[in-house]
């Protein structure tokens, strides 16, 4: 299946997937998979920003482009695992769901979550991206030479 993820998916990759998921999607997939475990907040969800940088000329010295809103939180499961979330936007419920999945991915439930949360997320995102890329490709110009003048 397209979007099937490696069993040893790195934490960096799954955290990125969780962060980029559409609003409410992680919670929906999580709750359809398992009952949420008990946890305590290390850091309750809070809204802030991150400064996005670009590079002059695309490759040169960095400059500050502007900020983006970010929600973050951290929690500890009753079994001790720590889950973090940093996600774009002002979405406290989504940050909580992402941190719960992050923590559960460090437990024995990892396989189940990979299959029923991360893989659907990955394939949905790939699908959305390819549809957009296909629309862009349809607007690609195919030049053909009418006349090559020489007078």
């Amino acid at each position: 299946m397209e979007g099937a993820l490696d069993r040893n998916i790195p934490r960096k990759t799954w955290m990125g997937l969780l962060a980029k998921a559409p609003e409410g999607r992680v919670a929906a997939l999580l709750d359809a998979t398992t009952a949420r475990p008990g946890f305590t907040w290390l850091r309750a969800p809070e809204i802030g920003s991150a400064m996005i940088r670009g590079r002059a000329g695309g490759t040169g010295a960095p400059f500050n482009l502007g900020e983006v809103t970010v929600t973050r939180c951290a929690l500890t499961l009753e079994s001790g695992e720590i889950g973090h979330a940093y996600i774009q936007g002002r979405r406290k419920a989504d940050a909580e769901a992402a941190a719960v999945v992050d923590a559960l991915m460090q437990t024995e439930a990892a396989d189940k979550l990979r299959q029923s949360v991360l893989e659907p997320l990955a394939s949905e995102m790939t699908e959305a991206k390819s549809e957009r890329a296909a629309k862009a490709a349809a607007t690609k110009v195919d030049f053909f030479t009418m006349v090559r003048g020489e007078d």
Binding site: R11, K12, M15, G16, A19, K20, E46, I47, G48, S49, A50, M51, I52, R53, G54, R55, A56, G57, G58, T59, G60, A61, P62, F63, N64, L65, G66, E67, V68, T69, V70, R72, A74, H84, Y86, I87, Q88, G89, R90, K129, S130, E131, R132, A133, A134, K135, A136, A137, A138, T139, K140, V141, F143
Partner: protein
């Protein structure tokens, strides 16, 4: 002299109430939702995000609704909100070469790898009002085509291989941030680019146009213009590694400009750069032209006295919130200032009359 007065509270409250009513307009007409503004007035939302310096489409849409469509007022609201946010960190510089492009065109090379991708552009529309939009209508699905795999390389890379264009070497100097430290002259390029990306679109457009008409001659080609999404990656201190925290749409414009060479440099092409939040093509092209004009000193060109070459003039006047704040404050009460001016004019007139009378008498 300073005189504090009171007494406008009720008038102000009532003005606010009426403003809210006027904002809503005729209640027989359905109210706009934030989602409608976000989805259907996307370019207005993009402008508010770019000049408000905060990427959050829902907030920008809310600001537009609250500001009754006055985009500078909306940008003001976003700037004010932005100051309340704790900053969690700084992203790694975004990699625009890995952009998922909606649009990518070059005015300098017809057959470039990756091709000319028009994207959802106004360019080839006939600018005729479409009265079908006045009635609700179904729109047909946009056609699809199998995309070519892989990243789309930057046009300047090809020129760079031949040494025909100046290099933009990698450099990891932490850039200054004008939202944290006051703007100081001389401003390095990183600071200028930050000021330009959040500059008023109209101001940037006017300056860029002036360079095209000969005020700081720098004949620019759009080497490449691309619009699309890039992931935003940030180092998370408590994790010890970087993660993608989201994705933003950006417009990037790289101009290729003639450069006849200087005492130290051979003839080659030089570059101007624009990078702006959202689909904001006019702004990104303007930014690139003004960036190039401001680079006269580092490229060993002459200062021709053109407004677009004058960093102090450009940077101190490019911000529409600063500009509108100072401009609009003159409509607020200046009763005491004006009283003293009035006294002065009366006194001068009295003196002039007296001296005329005296002359007549003599």
């Amino acid at each position: 002299m300073y005189v504090a007065v009171k007494g406008g509270e009720r008038a102000i409250e009532n003005a606010h109430a009426w403003l809210a009513e006027e904002r809503r307009g005729n209640t027989d007409i359905a109210e706009l939702s934030i989602a409608q503004i976000r989805e259907q007035l996307k370019l207005a939302v993009n402008r508010v995000m770019a000049e408000g310096s905060l990427y959050d489409p829902d907030l920008a849409a809310l600001a537009i609704k609250q500001a009754r469509g006055d985009l500078i007022e909306a940008i003001f609201l976003i700037r004010a909100y932005r100051t309340t946010l704790p900053r969690f960190g700084t992203s790694r510089p975004v990699d625009t070469a890995a952009m998922a492009c909606d649009r990518r065109i070059s005015a300098t090379f017809k057959d470039l790898p990756g091709g000319q991708i028009l994207g959802p552009t106004f360019d080839y529309t006939h600018r005729l009002l479409d009265f079908k939009l006045a009635a609700d209508g179904e729109i047909p699905d946009a056609p699809l085509r199998e995309p070519e795999p892989g990243d789309v390389p930057h046009v300047t890379e090809f020129l760079n291989r031949e040494g025909l264009i100046e290099d933009a070497p990698n450099d990891e100097t932490p850039p200054p941030d004008l939202t944290r430290e006051p703007l100081e002259m001389p401003a390095d390029r990183a600071l200028r680019l930050q000021a330009l990306t959040r500059a008023d679109e109209g101001f940037a457009l006017g300056l860029a146009y002036s360079t095209q008409r000969g005020y700081a001659r720098n004949h620019a080609f759009v080497g490449e213009l691309r619009i699309g999404t890039v992931p935003v990656e940030m180092e998370i201190p408590e994790l010890g590694f970087a993660i993608e925290i989201g994705e933003v749409t950006l417009t990037e414009c790289e101009t290729v400009n003639q450069f006849t060479g200087s005492k130290t440099e051979p003839a080659q092409f030089t570059r101007g750069y624009g990078l702006v939040f959202g689909q904001t093509e006019r702004k990104a092209i303007s930014m690139a032209l003004v960036d190039r004009a401001l680079r006269w000193e580092e490229l060993g060109e002459d200062f021709e006295g053109a407004p677009a070459q004058d960093a102090e003039f450009v940077l101190y006047h490019a911000d529409n919130i600063q500009a509108t704040g100072f401009l609009e404050h003159i409509k607020l009460p200046h009763y005491v200032d004006f009283q003293s001016e009035l006294e002065l004019v009366r006194k001068l007139r009295r003196e002039a009359e007296a001296s005329q009378l005296q002359e007549a008498a003599e």
